[in-house]
Symmetry: D2
Subunit: 337 residues, 4 copies
C-alpha cells in the first residue's frame, strides 16, 4: 500500500470509540488526527495513547481540514446530524449502528446521503467476523445449494441496566438489529417479519414494556425462512451461533471457545471453559476488518462495508418486529421502496 | 416381573406395525396373540416371525377374548373408531399418532374416552428417546433454572411422495405434530401459536398447497418461548436436535452419530459419517421404551405414556399453526378447555 | 439363510459365557443345545433362560453328538485342553482369549490345531467393534495413504482385585493382549517390542510385581510404529480410543458417548456424561459380530475371525513386552516363525 | 508499569528473529534499540519497520551500552558464544533453542552461566501457550489428582528440506526437543528415556540416517510415564495435542481450529477446515507471553521462563533418546547431576 494513511476524526471515546482508536492506531493505512468528545478527559486519554488533537466540539473536528474520514462512535441521538454534516463536508463516515431509533429521522436523511455521493458505512461489526463471512462466501459459492433456512442464535451474556433499557429503543432496535443485518447479509430482500417477545427474567425489561427474550421469523423474497432467537442473558457466556441450511447441506458457526482445553472426570467428560463474556473480545477481528473495509470504501476501492441503506433496512425490520409483536400478526415490509 | 405377559392385538402391519411386533415379541412382559390387517399377507408375515393368530377383520381381534391390550398401527382414518371400540370393550389401547386429522372427530371421541376410564396412550415415540427424556428430567430437576426457551430442530431426511402429501393433513399435522408434543412434554400449557410456512424445494408440497419448510413459535403460559424449525429434507441425514435454555444454562441434544470414527485430511478435519437416515433406527430405543411404558399404563402402574389429551393437544396446536400460517397472525389456544 | 442353526455347546457360564449365551439365543443362525460348568447352578440358570441341556462335565458336552461347535468361556487354564479335545473331535471352537498364559503350552498345541484342519477362532472381540473395523477397512482402502503410526489408548475403568492380578499373567498378557491383537489387525507383521511399565496407584499390582500403567511401542516390518497406552483405571469411564495416522491423513475412533446430551453453564460448556464403565456395554455389538463371524467360519464361509495363530501372536507380543520391560531393552520377535 | 522499557538488542533477523522484533515493538515494556545480522539487509529491513540501529557485528551490539537485554535468534552454532558473551557483559539473554547440538559445549558453558548470576532464558515457546499452561496449572492445582500419564502428540505440517535435516542434529534434538521440555514442564525429574525411530516417508531423513517418525517414552522419578508421538509431516495441518491423565481424570489440549465453521453434507458431517499449517500462527500468543516473562526475568521479577538448566536438560533427553533408538535399550538419565 503506497497511499498515505487515511486521517481519521473520531467522535466519541466510550467503549466502542476506544476499540476503533486502537484499531486506527494499529493500522498502517490509518492515522488518528482528531478526537472529539464533550467529555474532554475521555478524548485526552485516547489521544495520550494513540495521538491526535482533542476537542469537545465535533464541529471543530469536522472542519479542521486535517481529517479524511469520520468515525462516529457517539450516542445514537447524535448520529443523524453527524452523518449529515460529514457528507455535506464530503467526508466519508463510518457510523456505529443504529442510524437513529426513529425511522422518520432516518428517512429524512436518506435523500441527502444519496445525493451527496459520499461513502457512508454502518458499523454492523458481525458482518466482518471471519466465521460468519466464511459461511456467507461459501453459501454464495453454492456449497450447500439453494439457501432455505437461516437460524441465528444470539444471546448476550447479561441484561443491560434498567436505565439503558429505558432509552435503548427496545430489544429489536438495540439487540436484534445486529441479527437483522446478519440475516440481510445472506438474504437482502426480506419481505415479512413475525416476532414474539417475552419478559421472563428481567425486571428492567418488564418495567419498561420491553422484552428480554424474543424469537423473530423473517421470510425472504426467495421463500427462504430466517429464525432469530434472542435472549438478554446467557449463563455460559456470549452465545453467537448461526446455521445456514440449504438443499445440499448445512454450514454452522459454533461459539468461540476460550481455550483448547477440555476436562474429563467422573462427573462429566469433554467439558470446556465457558465462552467469552464480552462482545469486544468475541468480535475483535471483526472490528479490525470493519475498519479495513471502510478505509477501502473511503478510497473508492472494492469494499464489503454495509451502507446507509443497510442501516435503514435493519431499522425497518426492527420496527416491523416491534409492530408484529404488539399487533400479534405478520408484518410485510418492502426494503426496496 | 412375576405378572403374566400382556397379550397384544396388533392392528396394522405396515412399517410401524412391524416395529411394534418386534418389540412385543422381544419383551418378557408382552405377547403377540392376534394380528389384524385387511392385507392378510402382511398379518401372516408378521405372525410367521412373531406368532399370533391372524385376521383381516379388526373386530374379530377385538372380540377374540384373547387379548389384554390393543396396538393401533393402521391408517389414520381408522384410529377414532378403533380407539372407541377398544375402550368400549375395556381394552387399553396404544394408538399411533395422530388420533385423527379432524379435530371435530377427536372432540366427539373425547368424552367417551374420558367416561370409559380405560387407558389410552398416543404413540409420540420421541418422548421416550433417552436423550430427550434425560433433558426433560434434568430441566424438571432444576439443573438449568427456570426454562426460558426451547428450540427444536426437526428435519426429515427426504420429502414424502406427492401422493402422501395429498392426504397427510399438511406438514403441521403430519410432521410438526411430533414437535408440538415434544414442546408440550416440557411446557404443557401452550397459549399462543405463530407459524410461518414456505414451499421452497418440493413440488409435491407446492402442488398440494402444503409447506416443505416451516418455523413455528409457541408461547407457554409461563412466558417461555418455543421455536420449532422444520424441513422436509436434510442432505446430511435425519436432523433431530433440541436445546433447552434456562436461567442457569442450557441442555442440548445433538444428532445421533452413526459411527465413532472421524477423518482428518488436507480437505477437512474431524469429519464424521452422515447421520442416520431413518427414524426407525434413530428412535429404536424410544419405541421399546414406549411399549414398556404402555404396558405399565395398561397394568395400572406408574407410566409416562402420553394420553388422549396429549394427542388432542398436539392436533389443536397443528390446527392453530395452520390457521396462523394462513391468516398470518398469532393464534391463541386454550389446551385446558 | 436356509441352513439350519449351528448347535452350540457353551463351556463356562461366567460373565462372558452369559454374553455369548444371550447372543447365541438371539441369533437365527445359532442354537444353544448344551451348557457345561462345574458350577452346575450357573449352567442351569443359563439353560433356564436360553434352553439347552446342562452338565458339570465338559467332556459330556463335547461327546454329546448334539453340538456342531464349541464356545469356550471357561477359565484360562482350561483353554488348551478344551481346544485340543474340540479339534480332535472335529468341532469348530471359539475360545476366549488368551489361549494360555504359557507360550510353551500354546506351541505344544499349535501343530495339532494346524494338522486337524478344524476352525479355531480366538475371542478378540474388539476386532469386531464397528468403529475399529471401519477404520481398518478404510485404511485398507487407502483412504489415508500408507499407514505410518497407530496409536491405541486403552484404559480400564477400575483396577481388578489383587487376587485376580496375582493369577492374571500380568498386565501385558491380561489387558494389553487385546491391544496387541488390535495392532496386528492393522499391521500383522510386528518385528520389535519395547515396553515400559509402572505401578503408580494400585497396591495389588505393586505387591504382585505387576504394572498398573504401561506404554508399549511396536515396530512393524513396514517401518510403521504402534503406540499402546494402558492404564488399569480411568475416572471418566472405559477409555478406548484409536488413531490411524497415514501419509494423507488420520482416522480416529472416539470414546462411545453414553448420551447425546451436553450441558453448558457458567462452570463449563458442552459437558457430556461420563463414558460407559463396562466393556460388555461398550462392545455389545462387537460380541454379536464376533459370533456371526465364527458361525461363518464354522460353516466354511468367508470370515474375519482371528484364529489360533492370532491368539499365539498376541501372547508372543505380551511375553516380549514383559521381557522388554524387565530387561529394559527392545525385544525382537518373529511372528512368522 | 512505571518502569522504562527494556532496551533489546536482537541478534538474527530470520523468521523467528522477525517474530521477536514484532513483539518487542508492540510491547509497552520493550524497545528495539539494536539489531545485528551478518546479512545486513535483514537487519535493515527489521529496523525500517520497528526502529533500532543496525550492525553486521553482534559484538558491536553487545558493547553498544544501549541495550539492557539480548535476544539471540541467530543460527544454533552461534548460541554458546553469544550467551557466554552476554552473561560476561551482565546482559540478560533470551536464546532460541537449542543451546547447542553438542552437550559438551553446553556443559563447558554451564558453570560460567551459573557463576555469572545473569538471567538466561531458553526459547521454549510452547511452555507459554495458553492451553498448555492452563493444563499445567490445573494439574498443579490437583484438578485431576496425581499425574500418572502424559501424552504429547506433536507432528509438523511438512518435513524440512534434506539440507536442513543434514545439519539439524536429528529429529530428537531438532523437533522432539520441544516435547522434552514440555514433558519437563509437567514432570521435571525424568529418569529414563526409551525411543523408537523410523524413516517411513522422507528420503531426506533416510539419506541422513535420521527419522521422520518417532515415539519416545519417558519415565519420571514419580513413576509417571510420558509418551511423545512425533511425525515430520501431517496432511491435516500442524498437530499439537496433549493429554494429562491423572487419578481423578484427564485434561486434554485439542488442536487449534482455524475457523468456527463446520460443514455437513451427504458425504460427511461436522467437518471443519484443516488446522494451522504454521507454528508461528499456532504459537503467536505463546511468543508474546514468552517475551513478557523474559522481561520480568530480566527485571528480577517473578517469571516462568525456562532457563539454562532447562535447555541443557532437554538436550540431555534428546541425546539419550538418540542413544536409546540406536542401542535399542532404555537409557537412564540424571538431570539433577
Amino acid at each position: 500500500m503506497t497511499q498515505r494513511p487515511l486521517r481519521f476524526g473520531l467522535i466519541g471515546t466510550g467503549r466502542i470509540g476506544q476499540v476503533h482508536a486502537v484499531n486506527i492506531a494499529a493500522s498502517p493505512d490509518a492515522e488518528l488526527t482528531w478526537i472529539a468528545d464533550p467529555f474532554l478527559d475521555g478524548a485526552r486519554s485516547v489521544a495520550a495513547r494513540h495521538g491526535g488533537a482533542v476537542t469537545d466540539d465535533a464541529e471543530r473536528l469536522l472542519t479542521s481540514g486535517e481529517i479524511d474520514a469520520v468515525l462516529v462512535a457517539s450516542p445514537t441521538p447524535t448520529h443523524v446530524d453527524l452523518i449529515a454534516r460529514s457528507v455535506d463536508l464530503g467526508l466519508p463516515v463510518l457510523c456505529e449502528k443504529p442510524i437513529d431509533l426513529d425511522i422518520a429521522r432516518v428517512d429524512a436523511l436518506r435523500a441527502r446521503v444519496a445525493a451527496a455521493g459520499v461513502p457512508v458505512a454502518l458499523g454492523f461489526n458481525r458482518r466482518f467476523d471471519p466465521a460468519f463471512r466464511s459461511v456467507r462466501d461459501r453459501v454464495a459459492a453454492g456449497e450447500i445449494g439453494e439457501l432455505e433456512q437461516l437460524t441465528i442464535i444470539s444471546r448476550d451474556p447479561a441484561a443491560p441496566p434498567a436505565d439503558y433499557v429505558a432509552v435503548s429503543g427496545g430489544i429489536f432496535r438495540d439487540m436484534t438489529i445486529h441479527d437483522f443485518d446478519m440475516a440481510r447479509s445472506f438474504l437482502p430482500d426480506i419481505v415479512e417479519v413475525s416476532a414474539v417477545g417475552s419478559a421472563v427474567f428481567d425486571d428492567g425489561a418488564r418495567r419498561h414494556g420491553d422484552f428480554d427474550t424474543a424469537v423473530v421469523t423473517l421470510r425472504a423474497a426467495s421463500g427462504a425462512v430466517v429464525t432469530i432467537i434472542n435472549s438478554r442473558h446467557s449463563a455460559y457466556g456470549y452465545d453467537q451461533r448461526l446455521e445456514a441450511f440449504g438443499a445440499r447441506g448445512a454450514l454452522s458457526v459454533a461459539n468461540a471457545p476460550t481455550s483448547l482445553v477440555s476436562l474429563s472426570t467422573s462427573a462429566h467428560v469433554e467439558a470446556k471453559p465457558p465462552y467469552e463474556n464480552f462482545f469486544l473480545e468475541r468480535y475483535a477481528a471483526a472490528y479490525r476488518a470493519e475498519l479495513e473495509q471502510f478505509i477501502a470504501l473511503a478510497r473508492g476501492e472494492d469494499s464489503t462495508s454495509p451502507g446507509f441503506e443497510d442501516g435503514r433496512a435493519a431499522l425497518l425490520l426492527a420496527d416491523a418486529a416491534l409492530r408484529s409483536a404488539e399487533e400479534r400478526r405478520v408484518v410485510a415490509v418492502d426494503l426496496r421502496a
